[in-house]
Structures are given as C-alpha cells and as structure tokens.
Symmetry: C2
C-alpha cells in the first residue's frame, strides 16, 4: 500500500520480496527477489537505494546495523529504534526506564522463574516470546508455566505481563522525520478478534480531548525517545479509570492507521514515505467527523472480487481495498473504510460490506441502512 | 494515475507504452512496449486483456473496430463512442443531430468554403483540425482563411466554429457502466492558460443548483446517447445569460476531474476502472465544500522534487501529484489539490504551492495565509 502513494509523489520504490506472488511484488515495477533475513539480499537492495524502510519488523537487527555501519543506505527507522518493535523485552525495559506507562511485567529465563512471575501477577498472566510474534502469534494467556513449555530454548527469557483489565484498546499513530519534526494522528479505538485487529473507529469515541492530547503526547514522546523515523503506532490498553498502558509498538504504517488512507488529508502510507525520505510531513486532519475501518479476514469464499462487487452495489460510499492475497481463514486480505457524520451508521455499513465481501449473499437493503448517508447526490 | 486505484482494488493492469521512460511505464508492473497506433501492438495487448481502455484518444478507430469485431477484448469506451472524442466534426454532427447545445459551426473542405464560413460567423472564428488536436494544438482563431493554409491536405474538411463570447468554462464529468448505470460528479469551473487547463474549482462557484443539475443531465444524456462506457468529460462554455454550449468531449479521466482524486469519496481514476470493468459505480460526494486543483506546467526549474518539498513545508495541507515526466516549458508535469471550506484561501494556497514547485524561492509565509486553514491540529 506504499506503492500508490509513491507513484503519486514520483518516489521510485524497489521491493524486496521472497516470492513473486507476494502482494507488493505483483504490483511494483521494480522487484528484487530475496528473503528479508538474507543479509546478502538485503545488503544488495540497500546498495541500490537511498533509503531502506519496511512494511514489517522481521529484518534481523544485525543486517541493518551492518548497512548503517557501512553507510550503504539510510535505514529508517534505524535499527537502534526498530529493535523496540522487534523485541518486546527490549521495549519493556526501555519504556520502563523512560517512565512511560506499561503493564506490570517481568522476564522469566526458565520455568521456575515463570512460575514465580505468575504468582506475583495473580496466578494468571500473559506470556510473550520477545521476538517474532504478530497478530496474536507468540502470545498466550497462561496460569501454569507448563503451558509455554514449547517456548523454552528458542533463545533468551520470556516476557511476562499482567493481564490488564482493559476496557478497550486504543492506538496512537505519529510520524517523525529524521530531524525530529513530528505529527500525531487522532487517537483511534481498535477492536481485536482472535488477536487480530478487526475494527477501527477514528477518532476514538468518548475520549475526552485532554486525555486524547495526553495520549498523542505520549506517542510523540516515545517516537522522540526511541528516535523513530517514519510511522510509529503505539497500541494501548485503556482501563476503567481512563489511564492507558502501552501494549505494543509498530514502526511502520499499521492496521490501526488504514482509515487515514481514505479518511485524512494525508494517509499513513504517504506520511511514512514523506518521513523516511525526510520530506515535510502532511496534514493529518480527518476528512469527516468519523471514519470506520473494518478488516477483511479470509473466510470460505475465494472470490473476493465478486464479493467486492456485491458490496459496492449495496453501498457506493464504501471504499474497498483488496490486497491481492490468496484467501486463508483469518488472513488479512483487505479492508473497507467508510467516512461520515453518523458513527453508528458507518459501523453498520462497514460491517455489512465486510460480511458481504467475505461471506456473500447479504440481502439487507432494507435493514435500516437507507442510503441517506451514502451520498447519492448526482446519481442518475 | 489509474495504477494506484488499480492496485487498491487488486485489478491487474498491463500498460502499452511507446517508451519505457513514459510515466505509466516507469511505475507499472506489467508493461508492453509498442505504439498506440501500431495495430499489431494494440491487438497483441488486447489478446491478453479482458478490457481495453485508454488514457488518451489517439488509438486509431480501425484498430479498435477490428478488436471488437474479433472479440479479442472488451473495448471501453467502444470505438463507436470514442470516435466522438477523436473527431470533432463527427462530434459536432452527432450532438447537433441529437439536439444538444453547440456553438454555431460548419465544415470547410477548401479555402473558399472556409472564407464563406468565416463570413457567416462574423468574419472571425475558431478553426479546428477534426483529429489529433489536444491542449490547444489544432485550434486557431482566424479571420483569414490563409491563416490555416498549412492545414489543408491533411485529410478531410476543417471544423469552423463561432467564437463564443463565453464568460467562463465549465466541465461536467460523468461515469457510465455498460448496462447504463451512470453517476454525475459536481459540475466544475475550469480556467485555461494558453489553451491548457490550469485551474479547476469544484463545484463551480455561483452556479445555481437548477442549472448545475441541468448540466449534469446534459452530460448524462450525452453519455447515454453516445453509449460511452467509462469516464466522460463534457467541456462547456457558459455565456452571459447562463446557457451552456458543448465545447469538447473526452472519454477518459480528464484534467478537470483530477480534484476528485483527493476531493471526492471516489476519485475519477477508480471510477473509470469500475465503469470499464463493469463494477458498481462509487459515491461522487465531495469530501469538503470546495476543492481547488492547479496544474503544474513546466517552467525553468528541473528539480520538481525539491520544489515539492518546499511547497509541502509551506503548507502541509496541499496534496502534491508529480507525474515523473521531464520538465519542458508548458508541459503538464503534475498537479496540486487542496480541499476545505474557504474557497479564496484554497485558491491562494493552491497557486502558492504551484508557484513554489515550478519557480521556487517563494518566501511568503506572511502573505496572509496563516495556516489556520491547513489543519495543524495534532502537530507537535
């Protein structure tokens, strides 16, 4: 999704892809085949580029450190920043040292230490592999050390975190240039399903402006403290008293920011490109009072194009994004966004579009969504 | 500019380009090299595609008719429609037969006929070569037949049109599917400079709603009458009494519709793709009360990227599009768009951005544009 923004700004991009069937490799003009964890492949790419950036966090730090040391390319975010999105234990240590709010946590180097940590955290806690997790992988809620017996011996201690009694999840996205210029998008509310982001409402409903501003400032402070360049997403737990705790960090355009592609003056992919190319950052003002983004998670239907056509026919006001990926159950294969003034109506329309695309056969033109919010002015 | 929309909708596109340095060829994943007037090249492309469509009107009708006759691909718009955007004389004959409003016109097969036509039109008129003109090429205002002496013998009669005393130019864009479903974008006002579109304001200021609706209906009627599939732009002259006359037709995303990329729920490039792929059409509602688009016409400055960075720094709220073309004086090399509520402020900002990119060195942070309209909320 960086490519459309790059095309509009005439910023040439070369994609490193493991396989020519990957989404980006199917649409980019310049594609190099190679693995992101193959030092030679990443170094060869870097040697042809001014700036190296990422759409995931899985490039090994040592490869990036070597590229920086040799001055092959600017690496943005730099490995010294990126490690905080790659290693949750490094992130917890650093945020705690900086005084940023985290759940109670500890590290456990062996089953006995984990049993002790579980006891200290109320007998039940979240255990995470510090590296390699995403979308719920590498995260388990356990009450007995034996439940992660298979995770030992994979390198280093595990992270143990309190089970936060959160009332909802929020996400704060900021963009930061090398010189420190930064902008904060509105704080959004995200809903997970089976550990995967499913629905985002921007801005977060019922978030008092002072608290929203404090959360933006927290995200800006983390970006500055860690010297992030590019987009940073700070995923947060909000608790009953309104305080927030940092859950995870992502240093790239993030699922919780997809709404901005259609709902803000400057979308997150253009913003990331501006930041890593050290261009002035763009306006983050929303284009409507509310934006709702719902992920398309693969179901049983293979033909997403047919589903998209059905959803477009039901509601001309939704914006459909399809990633060109094969459908597998639960896999993120696209998203839909709808913006407007009536949040409840937007939620209903976005979820109806999602179900229509994934499942098909939704016949609810008369379900109360009467099209009055879909802007059919001028329609013949 | 169709490619970003195609990527988001997962619609694979193959570009036919004469030279690998052409804008689309530089960014598309699938590029075939060949001329648009080489029957073999166009036919070979068509044989690989479901739908053949265009970003200009210069593919010879005979090539397209052959493709349709053999069923190699859907050609959208079809050659029977497209000819009205390719041949201004065919267009005038047809629109006049249909009763759609045109300037007074006649055709002149030789200098004597042209002299007669000039006399009938007040001694001074617009003479056009029916085919091959664009951006002011093939159009001359003459008072003596000798002024187009070089145009005879290039095939067929010339078109002679009255010099319309228009007060401004308007443009009405519609999209139409093969089955007839159609939508009309808001009517816009366009300003030409040296025969080239330079500034567009959407919607057209001071256009009474009833007149705007009548113009949309005229454009929808032309699309239906000519069986257009895809985007149709109807360029119009508005005269002192508020009536309109059709100037020219374009059957593709058009410069007067670029504002919709950033200023409407569905931009014209996505809309064109939806129409030609026979997908349901998207919502054309504007995202703000006003959108202003200003073209970047090449000046003396070669380094547009540096200019864009300056313009972005002056105004984070503008959206910059660069086409990746070499700079030549007067050549369209990009455009900027800005949307919001204060039309005069948007015009000032868009033109300041244009001058900054093309000329550089604009130092007018204190020229009255105080940033209050540029939405810096959330900026650190």
């Amino acid at each position: 999704m960086m490519l459309p923004a790059a095309i509009e700004l005439d910023l040439p991009i070369t994609v490193l892809a493991t396989d020519p069937s990957e989404s980006a490799a199917r649409v980019a003009h310049d594609v190099r085949l190679g693995r992101h964890d193959d030092a030679d492949a990443v170094r060869a790419l870097a040697a042809t580029c001014e700036v190296l950036t990422f759409d995931h966090e899985h490039v090994p730090p040592a490869i990036l450190e070597g590229i920086v040391a040799e001055g092959l390319a600017h690496v943005r975010p730099g490995p010294h920043a990126l490690v905080h999105a790659q290693d949750k234990l490094v992130m917890r240590r650093r945020l705690t040292a900086l005084g940023h709010p985290c759940p109670r946590w500890s590290e456990a180097a062996d089953p006995a230490a984990l049993a002790t940590a579980l006891g200290e955290l109320g007998g039940r806690a979240v255990v995470k592999t510090p590296r390699g997790g995403y979308d719920g992988h590498g995260v388990r809620v356990v009450s007995d050390a034996a439940e992660v017996a298979d995770w030992w011996g994979t390198g280093g201690p595990l992270l143990v975190e309190e089970l936060v009694p959160f009332t909802r999840e929020l996400s704060a996205q900021v963009a930061r240039r090398p010189g420190g210029e930064a902008v904060a998008y509105p704080v959004v509310q995200s809903v997970q399903r089976d550990g995967v982001c499913f629905e985002v409402v921007a801005p977060a409903p019922d978030l008092e402006p002072g608290r929203a501003r404090a959360i933006q400032e927290l995200a800006l402070a983390i970006a500055a403290d860690l010297d992030v360049v590019g987009m940073l997403a700070v995923e947060l737990f909000e608790t009953a008293d309104g305080t927030v705790l940092v859950n995870e960090l992502a240093m790239r355009p993030h699922n919780t920011g997809h709404w901005s592609m259609d709902g803000a003056v400057t979308g997150q992919f253009e913003q990331h490109l501006r930041a890593v190319r050290d261009l002035p950052l763009g306006d983050v003002t929303p284009l409507a009072p509310w934006a709702v983004m719902v992920n398309l998670l693969g179901g049983t239907r293979e033909d997403l194009a047919a589903g998209a056509a059905e959803a477009m026919a039901l509601d001309p006001g939704i914006t459909v994004h399809l990633y060109g990926k094969g459908v597998r159950p639960g896999r993120k294969v696209g998203h839909v966004t709808v913006i407007g003034a009536d949040r409840e109506d937007l939620l209903r329309r976005a979820h109806r579009a999602e179900r229509t695309i994934i499942e098909g056969g939704i016949q609810d033109r008369n379900d109360g969504v009467d099209g009055s919010g879909s802007g059919t002015d001028g329609r013949a």
